[in-house]
């Protein structure tokens, strides 16, 4: 621990405390662009509650924290609050690797020991942020380093995880497509290796491909159901591959009406949940029958998503047609779950 005169630090800290409330609006945007929705933000070695309490305890003893940043360099603070994205990306780039190190106090380093020369204002973000918003942004340094490079190629639809900091991960996507020609299922089952066909049991051919790892049901009408993909693009690619296989077998296929029918996502809030209390207060949406199933089935109305909530804090979201519905459903649910955090 580096010792520094407390008075100096206090004044500087006061500035830092006041300024970030204005800068704060910009930085979260940069932050959200820094990670792609597919990066495993919810799977990280941190216990979310730990950093929070550490931050809280630091907030309580404000005088203690300044000792951590001995080399407080205020030159990073922008004069103007509205930047064009280029500048912001530049600053984002600069702070990227350092910020990531800041955000893993519980995991990599113990406590809030920062590397010297780490950017202070982002740290200052987190001290008052701990009071203002709920969670710091959990992130892995490698994923940040990678995605920093691909900031400009990011699609604009990114989850703004200001409130929970957890992004549900997509586990399964079910999609349908129309090949627009009648299929001879026996011929397909004979000529293709990766198929199962048992007409007495089910009137479709079950075909599997290795990359992307998916399964498809091919019906004699020409309709296809593709399951098992982990993203929308993968699902579309897989459906096209199935169409190609059938095309190679000699059928005049086309690729029409590719539509995603269902998306399943999962995540972990990392704290236990009192399911009985939740069922009691949200009676009209919840169904909790411990004799039948250990989880609580929550049927959210807007968006129309079904959440399976378990006592361990794991949440499964299903029934969505769009990725944004899953994210929105989780963001709606998270404050409710948080209110049951302390038993």
């Amino acid at each position: 621990m580096v010792g520094s005169p407390l008075m100096e630090e206090e004044d500087m800290y006061l500035d830092l405390f006041l300024d970030p409330y204005t800068v704060q609006d910009d930085f979260p945007q940069a932050m959200s662009q820094l990670f792609s929705p597919r990066s495993p933000l919810d799977v990280h070695p941190l216990n979310l509650s730990n950093p929070e309490t550490m931050f809280n305890s630091h907030l309580g003893g404000v005088k203690e924290t300044p000792s951590d940043f001995s080399s407080v360099d205020l030159s990073f603070l922008p004069d103007e609050l509205t930047h064009d994205s280029k500048d912001q990306d530049v600053t984002g780039n600069k702070h990227g690797p350092e910020q990531s190190q800041l955000q893993l106090p519980g995991g990599e380093d113990s406590g809030l020991t920062l590397n010297s020369g780490s950017s202070p204002e982002s740290h200052a973000h987190f001290c008052p942020d701990g009071a203002a918003s709920n969670q710091p942004f959990p992130e892995k340094p490698n994923s940040v380093a990678l995605s920093v490079a691909s900031i400009l190629s990011m699609t604009p639809m990114n989850p703004v995880s200001e409130s929970s900091g957890i992004v549900p991960q997509l586990q399964n996507i079910v999609a349908t497509a129309n090949l627009a020609c009648k299929l001879d299922l026996r011929k397909i089952a004979l000529n293709a290796k990766n198929t199962e066909y048992n007409p007495k049991r089910f009137a479709a051919v079950i075909m599997r491909i290795r990359e992307p790892r998916t399964t498809a049901l091919l019906f004699s009408s020409g309709k296809v159901v593709c399951t098992g993909a982990k993203s929308e693009e993968e699902s579309r690619l897989a459906a096209r591959k199935y169409a190609r296989v059938v095309q190679k077998l000699g059928f005049p296929v086309k690729f029409f009406n590719f539509k995603i029918q269902n998306m399943v996502g999962s995540c972990d809030v990392k704290f236990p949940i009192r399911l009985e209390t939740l069922a009691l207060t949200h009676r009209q949406f919840s169904s909790y029958e411990p004799e039948l199933f250990p989880g609580l089935i929550y049927k959210m109305v807007r968006p129309q998503v079904v959440l399976l909530i378990f006592a361990s804090g794991k949440v499964v979201l299903t029934g969505a047609k769009e990725r944004s519905e899953i994210y929105e459903a989780f963001e709606n649910m998270y404050p409710i779950l948080e209110s049951y955090k302390k038993t």
Partner: protein, 417 residues
């Protein structure tokens, strides 16, 4: 001779009660006309002749109701009577069944589903009146599968839009404990095993409350927890004689089925009690294990609130309690342990464990592999070689067809004889 009734033919009032074989009849003694009889006369006439006619036969309500529904409504009543439910429950259950029968999904369902529906209606009625009835009980009474029952139950609740409250744990404890056959001496039960019902009930309730507080009940079937709690309560009331009895033996003696998860619930409950015991100075000295802690359950339950708070932390900060509070405690039910009144040593109690459900305490079975960021766009080119790996060569097709034919022949050979 009922007054006021006359023979419809001759108008005579001389009506005699006669029985033709087993059928009782009212016959006019003058002209021999049969006034009332089972199938030959209508209930309207019977009533006119002041004969008793049951309500359900006279109002014609059963004519509008199909036979299968009638049978199921009778079954609902029978089930309520078997379970000794109050009569108001019967009417509620019947009304639910009739409402369910209006729905097309139910009316066209198979008979098996309709049978299970009977149980569902009774269960919903009991739940709404806080009568502790488990699904397991109903399934055994109906000889039904729990899967079928659960599907029908969920469908019914959704279709009728009902708000079914949760199972009331305290009432379930009372009714389940009362079913244990240990409260009266009998030849099959050793004298020392007989226990007073109220004492056992109150202690079991405390143990179940403790289990609920320490996350052993959330998400789990309630019955095995209650079995484990009853066993511990019974053991702790006379530990010297009952420690040798195992959970399975206990259930056999008490004439109650042992649910499979009860053993692991018992271990979890004992672990919680051990943690609590480590916070009491005089128990820490004894170095208790899962068997010996049973002797001190009385004490632990007495101070359970404080001990749970001390033994577990749920906000991430470690707590170190001083010994001063513990010195002031009085022990009530003592066992002959001489060293218990030794001065508590000046060492720290065991550091608090996190108060989490057991599923969160166990290490994860498999590490979650972090999925790599995929850069799939969905519109890439698909190479021919990739697709060809999935197709069979002509030689392979011939081999496959031959193999299929051979296996078909083998199957048809083995089947007829």
């Amino acid at each position: 001779m009922p007054s006021g009734s006359r023979c419809p033919d001759c108008g005579s009032s001389e009506l005699v009660e006669d029985s033709h074989y087993s059928q009782s009849q009212l016959v006019c003694s003058d002209c021999g006309c049969v006034v009332t009889e089972g199938v030959l006369t209508t209930t309207f006439n019977d009533e006119g002749n002041l004969r008793e006619v049951t309500y359900s036969r006279s109002t014609g309500e059963n004519e509008q109701v199909s036979r299968s529904q009638q049978r199921d409504l009778r079954r609902v009543r029978d089930l309520c009577r078997i379970l000794k439910l109050p009569t108001t429950f019967e009417d509620t259950a019947i009304s639910y069944y009739q409402r369910a029968y209006q729905l097309s999904g139910i009316r066209a369902a198979r008979l098996q589903k309709k049978e299970v529906l009977v149980g569902c209606c009774v269960l919903i009625t009991c739940r709404q009146h806080n009568w502790p009835l488990t699904m397991g009980t109903i399934c055994t009474l109906l000889y039904a599968d729990l899967d079928v029952f659960s599907g029908t139950y969920m469908q019914l609740v959704k279709l009728l839009g009902l708000d079914v409250p949760a199972l009331c744990l305290a009432d379930l404890v009372k009714s389940y404990c009362s079913s244990f056959a240990l409260f009266q001496a009998s030849p099959s039960i050793p004298v020392k095993y007989v226990e007073d019902k109220d004492k056992m009930l109150s202690r079991t309730l405390l143990l179940v409350e403790l289990a609920n507080e320490t996350w052993l009940v959330t998400g789990r079937h309630p019955l095995p927890v209650i079995t484990a709690a009853t066993f511990l309560a019974w053991q702790s009331l006379l530990p010297s004689d009952r420690l040798t009895c195992s959970l399975a033996q206990f259930c056999k003696l008490a004439n109650v089925d042992l649910p499979y998860p009860a053993a692991s619930r018992l271990q979890e409950l004992l672990a919680v009690l051990l943690r609590m015991a480590s916070q009491l100075a005089w128990l820490r000295v004894l170095k208790l294990d899962k068997r010996t802690v049973v002797k001190h359950i009385g004490d632990l339950l007495q101070h359970r609130h404080m001990l749970v708070r001390m033994a577990f932390r749920d906000d991430g900060t470690a707590q170190v309690e001083t010994q001063k509070q513990q010195k002031g405690e009085q022990r009530q039910q003592e066992e002959a342990e001489g060293s218990t009144f030794a001065l508590p040593e000046r060492k720290r109690p065991a550091s608090p464990a996190p108060l989490l459900p057991p599923c969160m305490l166990k290490p994860p079975k498999r590490s979650h592999p972090t999925p790599s960021i995929s850069t799939v766009t969905g519109d890439e080119n698909i190479s021919d070689s990739e697709i060809e790996q999935y197709l069979r060569t002509p030689q392979e097709i011939r081999d496959f067809q031959r193999a299929q034919a051979a296996s078909q022949a083998a199957m048809s050979d083995s089947n007829p004889p």
